[in-house]
């Protein structure tokens, strides 16, 4: 149960990002599939290089922000639909992520492999030996220095507290931001670009801010997930947008008319629910012949059907 909450909250950070781009500023953005990995790749690579986890995470956030900035530039400068612009960036990020990691995937070195002689010597410290034991052989030759990550992967609530704290700070910051006068215009921009221009303000500014914040959140989520799970993989971002969108929609359905904290709670609650449903499907799904890999199909079908239902009841579309 704790693991579900932890993973749900990690996902919710990416979902907040998708909520910002898809809902708040209404710029559909597919970059998260790439910027999620980018966050993980940057964080793990920096950990390798001997930097601390806080610095690595901050740099990961920055890298996501840059990716968002590039999408915003392409979208506003060349007047390209944000979907198309973001597909370009997402595709490009695939190559960039491999460059950053130097390989399609990169494990988080948790042990000082220089002093490790074999599997047995690792047995002492952690309960994750089974998971990490498999990868020791690759460390041995390299002699990688161990890094400190903030997660201990024990079901003792430590990780949960940390992740929940980060999500809480993120939610409060977002809420605070959306309350300010700039945030008001930011929200208004999402529904009426022309009115922003009418007020003598350049609307493109808000496209930049929206896509930057959105991808910064996604990269943060990817970075924390990589540290949490012990690896970064170039394919770990596949489906991020759809999963996050499903989370946002779940949240919207749960809250219906009510819009807590300008809707910033939608993605958080939605992601928790999504993760819960996912683990249910994983645990009991086999009874009806469900495979974990089917989850993405189910998610995609869910998103499409909700959009279809909303389209049919057009007059009731929630603004």
């Amino acid at each position: 149960m704790i693991a579900i909450l932890e993973q749900g909250l990690l996902l919710s950070l990416a979902a907040i990002g998708v909520y910002i781009s898809f809902r708040v500023v209404d710029l559909p953005d597919l970059t998260p599939d790439g910027s999620y990995v980018l966050g993980g790749a940057v964080a793990v690579s920096l950990l390798y290089a001997g930097h601390g986890w806080v610095f690595s995470t901050l740099m990961a956030i920055l890298s996501g922000a840059i990716a968002g900035c590039v999408v915003a530039f392409i979208t506003t400068r060349f007047r390209i639909n944000s979907l198309l612009g973001s597909i370009m960036v997402m595709t490009g990020l695939y190559s960039i992520n491999i460059r950053i990691m130097g390989a399609p995937n990169l494990p988080v070195p948790r042990f000082d492999t220089g002093s490790i002689t074999g599997y047995e010597s690792m047995m002492g410290g952690t309960s994750l030996d089974d998971l990490l034991g498999k990868t020791t052989s690759s460390y041995q030759g390299a002699g990688v220095k161990a890094v400190k990550v903030p997660f201990d992967n024990l079901a003792n609530g430590h990780d949960l507290l940390l992740i929940a704290g980060i999500v809480a700070i993120a939610v409060v910051l977002m809420w605070f931001f959306l309350r300010t006068e700039f945030g008001m215009m930011f929200r208004g921009y999402g529904r009426n670009r022309a009115a922003v221009r009418n007020l003598g303000v350049n609307p493109d500014l808000y496209a930049y801010v929206g896509l930057i914040i959105g991808n910064a959140f996604t990269a943060l989520s990817g970075a924390l997930f990589s540290m949490y799970s012990g690896f970064a993989d170039v394919n770990m971002g596949v489906g991020t947008v759809v999963i996050c969108l499903a989370s946002v929609i779940l949240g919207e359905i749960l809250f219906s008319q009510y819009e807590p904290l300008y809707g910033v709670l939608f993605p958080v609650v939605g992601a928790l629910l999504y993760q819960f449903l996912l683990s249910l499907a994983m645990r009991y799904g086999y009874k009806i012949g469900f495979k974990p890999s089917d989850m993405k199909l189910v998610t995609a079908l869910f998103v499409v059907s909700v959009i279809a239902i909303r389209r049919f009841r057009k007059s009731e579309v929630i603004i």
Partner: protein, 249 residues
């Protein structure tokens, strides 16, 4: 002052779809003038406003607003525009209050935010639509007339020199139309804002405005200065009708 000299606007030039929207049109609008523009569909009325905002570039001729040649970026700091679509001028997902707060952003001249806001509330109260008591309501949930009242108040909250109105009462019922027109008139009279207003409502030119411009087929048929030519309502209506009809043949 707004000066258009021999302005010609051609849409889709060089294609099979080519269309001349304004033909060699010249027009002066004085400061403080309240000009009502009438004419059949496709006469070029909206295009005229778009030339003034800089949204459409003339093929030939020039347009100067307060002595400066029009550039679209500059426009929004001196002028405001309200169109016929009540949803266009407001942020539907924000509350009335938030809409008003944002509206003061634009080119504030001479007076502070607090004063602008207070004036906005006064103007809202003037329209008598109950908006000033409903500040926490989402703008999307307002009626068409209320939305248009809000859009008008937002448009003038920073005291623009020029207000352009493209059929801003077209979607409203007679009662709301009257309220919005009273507000429009007040803005012109009390703040001295120059107004160019397009309408298809033939009752408006006789009740409001200092002058009437009758357009058709991309040209000006006639411009009537109501203060100089002392004509009564019926005469005015007759002039408009006959001018339009005569030229349509």
């Amino acid at each position: 002052m707004i000066e258009l000299n021999n302005v010609t606007v051609i849409y889709n030039k060089g294609t099979a779809d080519e269309r001349i929207a304004l033909k060699d049109l010249s027009l002066n609008v004085e400061d403080g003038e309240f000009l009502i523009v009438v004419g059949p569909n496709g006469a070029g009325k909206s295009t005229l406003l778009k030339v003034i905002t800089g949204e459409v570039r003339p093929f030939s001729g020039s347009c100067k607003v307060y002595g400066k040649v029009v550039k679209s970026e500059r426009f929004f700091s001196i002028a405001s525009i309200v169109s016929q679509d009540p949803n266009q001028g407001i942020f539907p997902n924000l509350t009335v209050e938030e809409n008003l707060i944002l509206a003061r952003k634009k080119g504030v001249r001479g007076f502070g935010f607090g004063k602008i806001y207070a004036r906005s509330l006064d103007l809202l109260a003037f329209t008598d639509m109950g908006l000033e008591k409903d500040l926490k309501r989402k703008a999307a949930k307002l009626s068409g007339g209320q939305k248009q009242a809000l859009a008008m108040v937002m448009a003038v909250s920073s005291n623009p020199k020029l207000l352009l109105l493209d059929e801003h009462t077209a979607a409203l019922d007679p009662k709301s139309t009257e309220k919005i027109m009273e507000l429009t008139d007040k803005i012109n009279k009390e703040f001295g804002t120059t107004i160019i207003m397009i309408t298809h409502d033939m009752n408006i030119p006789e009740q409001y405005g200092t002058s009437v411009l009758v357009m058709g087929d991309g040209t000006i048929y006639t411009k009537i200065d109501k203060s100089k030519e002392s004509i009564d309502a019926r005469q005015l209506k007759e002039i408009i009708r006959s001018t339009v009809l005569m030229n349509v043949e």
